[in-house]
Symmetry: C2
Subunit: 675 residues, 2 copies
């Protein structure tokens, strides 16, 4: 196929010179982009450090993602392993360490295309659940990569409900070993990352049996592949689970165990131990196990959810000021699509959400650091609240952001659908966050259980955590707003959210009690309320997110330029939520129909205001072109040139397809019958 190599459109020089339609957007910013970036980073010195890390990574061709959209699952896995190995070298070279300040920027710079993430979880689980002796033995082996670890919990037939896991570990007192088995096909470990092709060891979660008695789930270190030649160990069957919607770079694996024996010392025994005579000993609190899951859920919010959403907004908004389509005024040039109200209404609320979730992540990090300090002081009082928060916010942020990324993709029309836009892979990756680390509906229901409990306690005057005291607060029955400007007052909308969340929890609690009092069994009654319970939990998280955004804006008083635009975004996030969930606000008349019209008017007005700063607001996220890896989202806005040049690199353009000689030529030449 004769490709035009040096045709009139292939002027490489165009790339890098900023499209005037994008340049003009940057000239009218109402605030300093650099100041906003520094504030988001937590100070200019953090910005400098982040940029230095990103630059060091991007300068190194070994980390290039240039061909990512053309690679097969095998190629992506190989690249991820290569990069993970290379990263060790790079870190030595740069003097970066796992605990250093640079570390958190490395993942961002690599955009996650890295193997051995489960190796880290392997290390973390031994550190948290292992005895001092186990830590001393295994951690150095792991950190020096004398083994590659994984973490095998989920089974083919069992996910979030851990008690249902079927893998067994039976203590054999005669040999002082545990004998591990996956007794059914549904017991097979399924999904663990790094396990399908890479890992030599894994932490297996299995039901512990001693002398015929089951002691529940426990973690065991199991070697699965030879350190010499990587062949599978005796009794082990393992492999890759095959193609997925994304995460092609990860070798999610399956693992079957048939009478696999590990020494007694391989059960992680910080909290429980089987002694040589078969005596089972439990030490300390089991609750701390929850805290591990809890912290993982919180730790993924920034890197796996908020940053991808910020990227999607950057791509879609930059594209929307470069793309021109149809006319807004007769006789004029075709309009930038971001000048259409409908396009603003698609993208700007997602931009506001990206900021809202960036701030709620800060809030959650702070809450969890506080919780961690308390736990170190052996005070476990905060655990239920932390667990409820991690569940609910993980669910809300992942669900909201997934739908936001999808909106960004669709808002870019056909070009958004091209892998070269970067949006499809952002979507197919973020959608997994709704499922992994706890399925969202189950998580919402865990939050709901906590809220119902607190509501019951609060209504009988018992103390509840500060975050939920509002459940018992007396609020006005009607929203006091008199005109559309009143709805730009954070007090007005925050109170509306509070009222709505409290009402949903209150009314669902009442339904639950009614059912039980009418003779329905407790578990049936609970099941019959779960749709509403999940809704109530979501409403609670939404309320806290709005409240936290408003408080974040308030604290910005020393930076009036930034405060002003952040206030607009906060208003937009809040009013978009009321506009889109009008039913729950109108239901008891707290907001009247006439007031809802005011909300709508203010909401639509805000779109036009924020539209003017849309590009500076995404520029402030400070993603490099290489990080975005998008033909539509680059800083220079040369979208058409880039789409064209990138398409040339596709394997579909590398040679004439064999389909021509095999099928098309015989068809066209009518020699088909002679074949």
């Amino acid at each position: 196929m004769a490709l035009m190599e040096t045709g009139k459109y292939s002027q490489g020089s165009v790339l890098g010179s900023v499209n005037p339609d994008l340049a003009s957007e940057r000239q009218t910013a109402s605030f300093s982009v650099e100041k906003l970036t520094a504030w988001l980073d937590g100070g200019a010195e953090h910005t400098r450090l982040r940029r230095a890390v990103v630059e060091a990574i991007e300068r190194d061709p070994a980390f290039s993602r240039e061909n990512q959209y053309f690679q097969s699952q095998n190629e992506r896995y190989e690249a991820a392993v290569r990069k993970a190995v290379h990263l060790q070298k790079k870190m030595d070279e740069m003097g970066w360490t796992d605990n250093g300040p640079e570390f958190k920027y490395i993942y961002r710079a690599l955009s996650g295309d890295l193997a051995f993430l489960l190796h880290r979880i392997f290390i973390r689980s031994i550190s948290m659940l292992g005895s001092d002796k186990q830590i001393a033995k295994w951690i150095p082996l792991a950190t020096q990569y004398q083994l590659i670890g994984s973490y095998a919990q989920t089974e083919l037939g069992h996910g979030t409900y851990l008690q249902g896991l079927e893998t067994t570990a039976v203590f054999d007192i005669t040999t002082q070993e545990f004998v591990l088995n996956t007794p059914n096909i549904s017991a097979m470990k399924w999904w663990p990352g790094d396990m399908g092709r890479s890992a030599t060891h894994t932490v297996v979660f299995a039901q512990l049996y001693v002398k015929g008695k089951c002691y529940g789930l426990h973690p065991f270190i199991v070697q699965i592949r030879s350190l010499q030649d990587h062949s599978l160990c005796p009794g082990i069957t393992a492999g890759d689970i095959g193609p997925k919607m994304n995460f092609e770079h990860i070798d999610n694996g399956y693992l079957m165990l048939q009478n696999v024996r590990v020494p007694r010392e391989n059960m992680l025994s910080k909290f429980c131990e089987v002694q040589p005579d078969g005596t089972y000993v439990r030490r300390g609190s089991q609750k701390i196990n929850y805290f591990t899951m809890t912290t993982v859920r919180i730790s993924l919010i920034l890197d796996e959810v908020v940053i991808p959403l910020m990227k999607a907004c950057t791509i879609a908004i930059r594209y929307s000021v470069v793309r021109r389509q149809s006319k807004l005024k007769p006789g004029e040039q075709e309009a930038k699509i971001l000048d259409y109200q409908t396009q603003q209404e698609k993208l700007l609320p997602q931009l506001a959400a990206a900021y809202a979730f960036y701030f709620i992540n800060d809030y959650l990090q702070e809450l969890f650091n506080r919780g961690y300090r308390e736990i170190q002081r052996k005070n476990f009082d905060m655990l239920p609240e932390l667990h409820a928060f991690s569940s609910g916010f993980k669910a809300m942020v992942t669900q909201y952001s997934t739908s936001a990324v999808e909106i960004c993709l669709r808002a870019c029309g056909g070009h958004g659908y091209s892998l070269l836009s970067g949006l499809p892979s952002l979507y197919t990756k973020i959608v997994a966050s709704c499922i992994y680390e706890g399925e969202n509906t189950i998580l919402f229901l865990q939050t709901a259980r906590f809220l119902i409990k607190c509501f019951m306690a609060a209504s009988t005057g018992q103390p509840v955590p500060p975050s939920v005291t509002y459940l018992a607060a007396v609020t006005p029955e009607k929203c006091p707003a008199k005109n559309k400007l009143d709805f730009l007052s954070p007090d007005i909308y925050t109170e509306a959210y509070q009222h709505m969340a409290a009402r949903l929890i209150n009314s669902t609690a009442a339904k639950l009690q009614d059912l039980i009092q009418s003779g329905v069994k407790k578990h049936d009654a609970w099941n019959q309320c779960t749709v509403q319970l999940a809704q109530a939990a979501k409403a609670h998280c939404h309320y806290i997110t709005v409240k936290n955004f408003a408080e974040t804006v308030e604290k910005l008083e020393t930076q009036p330029g930034i405060q002003k635009i952040m206030k607009h975004l906060c208003d937009l996030f809040a009013l978009h939520g009321i506009f889109s969930n009008a039913g729950v606000f109108l239901h008891d008349g707290y907001i009247s129909g006439a007031q809802m019209d005011m909300v709508t008017a203010s909401y639509l007005d805000l779109l036009a205001v924020i539209r003017k700063d849309a590009v500076p607001l995404v520029d402030a996220f400070d993603f490099t072109d290489k990080t975005l890896n998008s033909a539509l989202g680059s800083y220079d806005g040369q979208v058409y040139q880039r789409l064209y040049e990138w398409a040339q690199k596709s394997p579909t353009n590398k040679q004439m397809s064999p389909a021509y000689e095999r099928y098309l030529k015989p068809l066209l030449h009518k020699t088909l019958s002679k074949l």
Copy 2:
């Protein structure tokens, strides 16, 4: 990698024997599945014919989709071409013709993995837009595959707004040729299917210039590749646009034209012609061009949207009675996940929507057949209504169904995320339907323009089409329902939808007029109302869909068993819509908060009722396992066995990855530094 070939889980015999958890669901069906299937097909004889076609296709190994989830873009393209060529042979062999009754079942049986679909559009556009002479010349060449056609309209910088297309065709009177050019990079044709690698010819839409005057968009037949060796013709640059979210089997292409000359006879000239002396002649109505676009939008609803949604429902619902997770009652076996209210609330409304859209498709087909008959009688009165309906319903059905398929995918947890579930490819394909053949927001606004016009006409007593007379109807101001059972009356909920749709159109028209009267220019006023206009158009389509569903149920009186379950589904579809869009019903108090509680109660009750028939309701869609191509959705429900066996076929399990020798072994053996 040593894979267990004949291990204890690989008992091929399990496949085919129905999982008892699925079998039990079929024993309690409240209706005859076979009768429902026949009714959906339009009679038992159609069912027989469909099954015969599907069987003939599936028996032929050339049409196998077994490896689809493991194939690269190149491989999928080659397979699609191979199948398209083989299909010609098959049709000859079977005695099937393009106009025969079997034809519509072929595509369903092949699940769309076929090349040359744009070749069909090439033929259709010549048939509709060409002169008799052009038809006589080109159609035989095309139908006998002496050329392969495509259809080049969309450009890199221009989509739905056709007037903005930049490609030019200048009439050269001296040579009696048109000279075609894509003058800018944004003018390059981009996206046309079959064009990137297959087509020899294409219909190019270009701005016609004669003697310096522009006559607007016209279609030209242009040869792009040699019929001898498939090399690109002089002045032509073409290739594949690269990887996309799906449609890997289609060679969507780009095309640049540099002074490409075609004879005067190559402009399709049924409706307009350039005579040898340069005189431009227009014949007949241009409006008929709209009708082509209109019919394409309607014709895609069943195959590209409703059937994929039905497949997704089949997969997710069957999986949800096989998957057991957590306990509903303490001490019992883990529960089927479909027994949880939250899972029912995810899936059953999507099932109801699949039926609703299947029926609205029938309604639209009938409306369009009627319209077509009128047009043949030179009566173009129905065109605006048909255009408005095709736009709005295409947008509503694609948008709703895309989100429904996504819900099905997420409702299957981790396994839904595996390509082997079949759900990711259903999603990534259906999402494109929101973009192609007119971007949905633009389509909604076209419907809104029609509705506003009709509303204005109706309020001044002028006649309007029957489908929109409701805009001027007087309805009660309050919903008359007194208890939750009242909301199971189609009259009650249909009227609620009608009231709501009319109110949204009414209030948006009022806002529009207010803005204009306050001095805002018409186009600005329109833009400021577009968010609400799109909402109003959606509400109109939702109303018609509910009304049509209720009418369809009413007509089922001779089949009471089927009527009963269809009535439940209709109720569910309607009440789910009210529950999920509560705000628009509560806004003016038509439905009160207390009534909304009744809606919610009836809605949740219905979930439990329909849950019992959920599996029979998807069985009635009558998809074969090969059509579903899903490890989760097969008729026998052996999901875990199938996931495991299919994973074995993945290229990631075919050999030890080179990553071991290259990176893992040196890392583990610490020979890295010696490399």
